[in-house]
Structure formats: C-alpha cells, structure tokens
Amino acid sequence: MANQAPGVRIDGLTVVYKTPAGELPAVRGVSLRLEPGSITGIVGESGSGKSTLALSLLNAVQPPGRIAAGSVEIDGLGDVTGLRGEQLRKARGKHIGYVFQAAQNSLNPLKTVGKQLLDLGRSHGVDDLRGLVREARELLGRMGLDGARVLDSHQHELSGGMRQRVGIMLALVLNAHLVVLDEPTTALDMITQANILKIVREVHAERGLTTLVITHDIGVVAEVADRLAVMYGGRLVEQGPTREVLGAPRHPYTQGLIKAIPRLVGDIDEARALPGRPPALATVPKEGCVFRERCPSRMDVCDTVDPEPTADGPRIVACHAVTAPVAEPGTLDKEHA
C-alpha cells in the first residue's frame, strides 16, 4: 500500500447518463491533475457534473450513468475505470477515502459507529481490529471528539458536525492517502463549517494526503484549496492556483461567479447575479461553448466550436475570448509544463 500521497491524472473523462432522450453527458472531456500532497477544489453549480466527477475517482458512477471515455490514473492503483468487482471494492476505503455531504445520512441508523467501523475493518481484512478501534479513537480525538463515546453512539445521537467528523474518520482510518470530500460543509452552521475546514487542512498536512474537495461554495475553496477547478455544464472551464484564479479570473463564468459574491463591507447591490440559469443534462448545447447563452463576451465562433482547455503557465482556461481564437485552434496539451 502506498504510504505517501498519490498523484491523480484524469484524462478526457466523459460520463454519460442514460435518459429517454438517449445518452447525455454529465461530464465531458474533463482533464485534471491532482498533484501529490495538494488540495484541489472543484466548484460548480448544482448539476454542473462535479459530484459525478468525484464519483468517477472511485469508479462509482451510479446507473443509469457510466464512464463512456477517458481514464483516471491513480498512483499505486492504475486506471480505476478499468477496476471491477473485488479489486475495485478493495481500492475503495483502503486507497481512496470518500466523505459524504454532511447533511446526508452516511451511517447505518441501526448500528453504532463502532460496529460499522468493525464491519469496515473486516471488509478490508484488517487483522488487528483493536488497533483499528484505537486508530479511530485517536482520529476522532484529533478532531475534538470523545472517541470512545462517539464509537458507542448511533447516528441519531450525533450532530451534523459530529457526523461529518465521523465520515472523515471512516475515510481515513484504513490509511487511505487520497481523500475525496463531496460538499463537506454543506448544511453545517458557519462555526462548524470553519471547524471542519480547519480539520481538513490539518489532517491533510499531518497525514500527507492528496485531497479533492467538491463544493458549490467558493468560500470553502478559498479557505482550503491550493488549486481550483471551475466546472460548468459538465466541462472544466478554468483551473489554476486558487489565489490566481480568484484574484484574476479569466473565464467569463468564473468572473461572473466572483462578482456574484456579496461582500461583508460595502453595498449588497455590488454583488451581481449571473443572468440566466445553468444548463441541465438535456439542455447542454450539443456543439459550441456550454456557457455561451449566459456569456457577456460571446462571439460567433462560440456557437460552433467548443473551446479547448488551453494552458498558460499554471493556468488552464477553455474560452475563445481568452485564448485568441480562430487563427490557431486550442492545443490539446493539458499539461501546463
């Protein structure tokens, strides 16, 4: 088992969902690298495909969806889109930890946390179950909980923040070094949110993880992520170092998102809502740019040609208006080397 942070390379990933109108892409041609030891944040609106992308990392896209093209290479595991059955099951939990949204009930309501921990240990052939319990107690204690008490509790006896910490514990207790957090702070109050983010940051550093955070809250990403990727209509429209992207957004969608954030100081009216609404699975344009309907810098070429992600130093943007279009078609080079 790899005892250091793995790198992840997602290449040309397309995930389609089977609908009465045929197979429609929820994620289309997405390429993304997670550097070993980094925290990457993916932001996007509901339905932008970010959760589907997160599930692809565990090859866990739920039917009627399926991975139609592309690969997800994880150090120490290989291409997870090729994993099946027992191999896949063993990779989940042991190599890749997945933390569910806090509001969701990710625990069996009829069993104590401790018993579910033992189920997890047995599933992964852990011989030293006592050691596992000790490890879990330490992790929970590290996150400010009374480990022994929490292990003896049922889900309904825990608050949202406590459940989320239990979720993080279960994702890490088997010593996984790649952790995916899907909306880790949604539905938590501000103080608990801040607490959870602090824990994510600290645990990430202490244990040497590669972390992916999925959220619709730019604030969360700004707080924890080294790199930021913005998703829209199943496409990654912009990515780069968090500070640079937030400080000087290039894609019109990212610019719109940041303008829409109300400031603590100043007039509330300074925040500009993005006009229009995001596309749903069935309304994503078949050709051309996915964002053109709401784009202030729309050009003719946007109707017909889908802008390719183009690297400029550490930043990648998929927009005709940014990458001076027409003359030279965008390079397919996703590696910002």
């Binding site: 990710s106 069996n108 309501p109 009829l110 997890l120 599933s123 003896d152 006896e157």
Partner: protein, 335 residues
C-alpha cells in the same frame, strides 16, 4: 432497561382501559339486541309448569343470570366476573364456562392462522427482496404482479377457489372439517396426519391471501433503503457485499415487523369467513354459531378475546420496536 419497563407499564394501563371500554360497549350492545334468550328460557320454564321463583332459581344456577336483575346489576356482575377471568356461562352449552369454549376453539384458529401468516411472511419478504433488486427485469415484474393479483383476490373467494381445485377437480384434500373422526385423538400418525391434511387448505388460504401484502410491502421497503445514502456510503468505503446486504435487509424489514405483530393480533378475529367455508371449528366459526344461537355470553366473550388480542399485539409490536430500533430505544441523550 427502565425505559422499557416504564413503557410497558404505560401500555398495560392503557390496554386495560381499552379492554374495559370495549367490554362495556359490547355488553350494552349485546344486551340491547332484540330477542332475549334468557327471558325466553325463563318463560319456557314457567310454561313447563315451574313456579316463577323456581324458574328464576333454575336460570340462575344454570346460567348465573338473574332475569329480573337491573341492567346495571348485570353489568357490574359481568365486570366483576371479568376481573376473575370469568366470562360467564354459555347459553347453548349449559354449565360450560365461556372461557373454556373459547379456549377450545382458539387453538383451531391460532395454529392455522399463525402457520399461514408466518409462512406468507417468510416467503413474502424473501421474494420481496428479489422483486426489489430485479425490479427492472422480468422476474421483478412477475413477482410484483403475483403479489398484486393475490392481494386483490378476497380471502373467501380464494378459499372457495382452493376448495374447487383441490377438493373437487383434483380431489386430493378434504374440503372441510378439522380431523377425521375415524382416528383416535392423541399422538399417533393417523390422527396427526388427518389433522395436517385438513389444515392444508385453510393454511394455504391464509398464506396466499397475506403473501401479496408482504411481497409488495417488502419490495417498496427495500427499494426505499436501496436509495438511502448510507448504502452508497458503505459501498464507497469498500464494505463487503454480504455486509451491505445485511444493512439493507435489516433496515428494510424493520417496518414490516410492526405489520407482522399487528396481523398476528388480527389472527383471532380474521378467520370468520374462512372457518365457515372450511367448516373449521375455530373462533370465527364459534362466533358465527353464537350469533345464530343468540348465545350472548359467548358472543361478548369472543368479541372481548379478539379485542384483547389486537391490543396485546399492538403492545408487543411497540415493545418489539423498542428492542430492534435504536432510534426508538434512545429517547434522550446517548445510550
């Protein structure tokens, strides 16, 4: 544990009050039905040449009944009898306590209905799981349709259908009765075999008519649990399939246990038509007989027994839930 004891005490108190209310209502209803068998008998004795005093005495000895007692007095007599588990004396079977008659009949109802219910429950929930997992395929459709179909046929129609098929068209099973009188009652092969043979059609009726409800309820319960986040969460943590299956099964079966306990409560009163059709000497058969004979004591006793069974089943269902569902057990704070 104290919580369960407290709960039990509360239930018992409420149950007793309910039984008392039901006993009161049935007493007054039954006593106000036109046609008074006691008065009829009393007058018959007088017509036979007995003095009113002697007739009164005879009725009192035979039935424990005072023809000229007020309704109120009869009511208090009845209630005080109840507390000693004395339900009075059967009118049509002079000298036999109602409780004894009921007890004799109850075993003919309880065993076949219990067998039928448990059989249908087991088969129904197991097939219900398959109906849920294969719900998009042909097998799932077939199972669901079998459930709806059997659920839709009235129990007595099913009973008559079975008689026609297995006693008339293919005469392999007896159409009615509980046992052949040829055999010496006791623990011998002939008697037990005859008992079993006679029980097949009633049990099958109970089982088939209940099966549809179980398979449909279990199917929808499993489908609900399959959509729950914690199942996906367990899969994403790499929990073994067999363990995930246990998570699904235990969560899905929970609401069905309540239904099971309740249906066991209805077990005493639910077999009226069926016992009539199969001429099976259980409680339902007894109840119909007592109505026809105007055996008021027996009637009230039967009603009361059926009510009490339902109330007890409710209590059992609730307590059972307390044991199997930690969310109900918990209450306040940590366990």
């Amino acid at each position: 544990m104290t919580l369960i004891t407290r709960r039990l005490a509360g239930h018992l108190a409420r149950g007793l009050v309910m039984i008392l209310v039901v006993a009161t209502i049935t007493f007054f209803i039954v006593n106000n039905i036109p046609g008074d068998p006691m008065a009829a008998r009393y007058e018959k004795l007088i017509e036979g040449g007995m003095s009113p005093e002697a007739a009164k005495q005879a009725v009192k000895v035979l039935y424990g009944f005072q023809p000229d007692g007020s309704m109120w007095q009869q009511y208090t007599d009845y209630l005080s009898g109840l507390f000693r588990l004395d339900l009075g004396v059967s009118v049509t079977r002079p000298g036999t306590p109602v409780l004894e008659v009921l007890g004799e009949a109850a075993k003919w109802t309880v065993l076949p209905v219990l067998a039928g219910t448990l059989l249908s429950f087991l088969v129904g929930i197991i097939l219900g799981v398959f109906a849920a997992i294969k719900r998009t395929g042909k097998l799932g459709d077939a199972l669901a349709i079998s459930g709806s179909l059997l659920h839709g046929i009235p129990q007595y129609v099913l009973a008559m259908l079975l008689v026609v098929i297995f006693a008339t068209l293919i005469p392999i099973l007896p159409a009615d009765g509980s046992v052949d009188i040829l055999f010496e009652p006791g623990f011998n092969a002939g008697y037990l075999g005859s008992l079993a043979e006679h029980a097949v059609l009633p049990v099958l009726t109970y089982a088939l008519s209940a099966y549809g409800g179980w398979i449909l309820a279990m199917k929808s319960s499993v489908v609900t649990v399959l959509g729950d986040d914690f199942i996906l969460a367990a899969e994403l943590r790499g929990v073994k399939r067999s363990i995930v299956f246990r998570y699904i099964a235990r969560n899905a079966i929970l609401p069905l246990f309540t239904l099971l306990a309740l249906s066991l409560g209805l077990l005493l009163g639910g077999a009226v038509f069926i016992e009539k059709i199969f001429n099976y000497p259980g409680l339902g058969w007894l109840l119909i007989g007592s109505v026809q004979d105007r055996d008021y004591a027996l009637m009230s006793g039967a009603f009361l027994l059926i009510t009490a069974a339902t109330i007890v089943a409710n209590i059992v269902a609730d307590l059972f839930y307390t044991v199997i569902d930690p969310r109900v057990r918990g209450g306040e704070g940590a366990s």
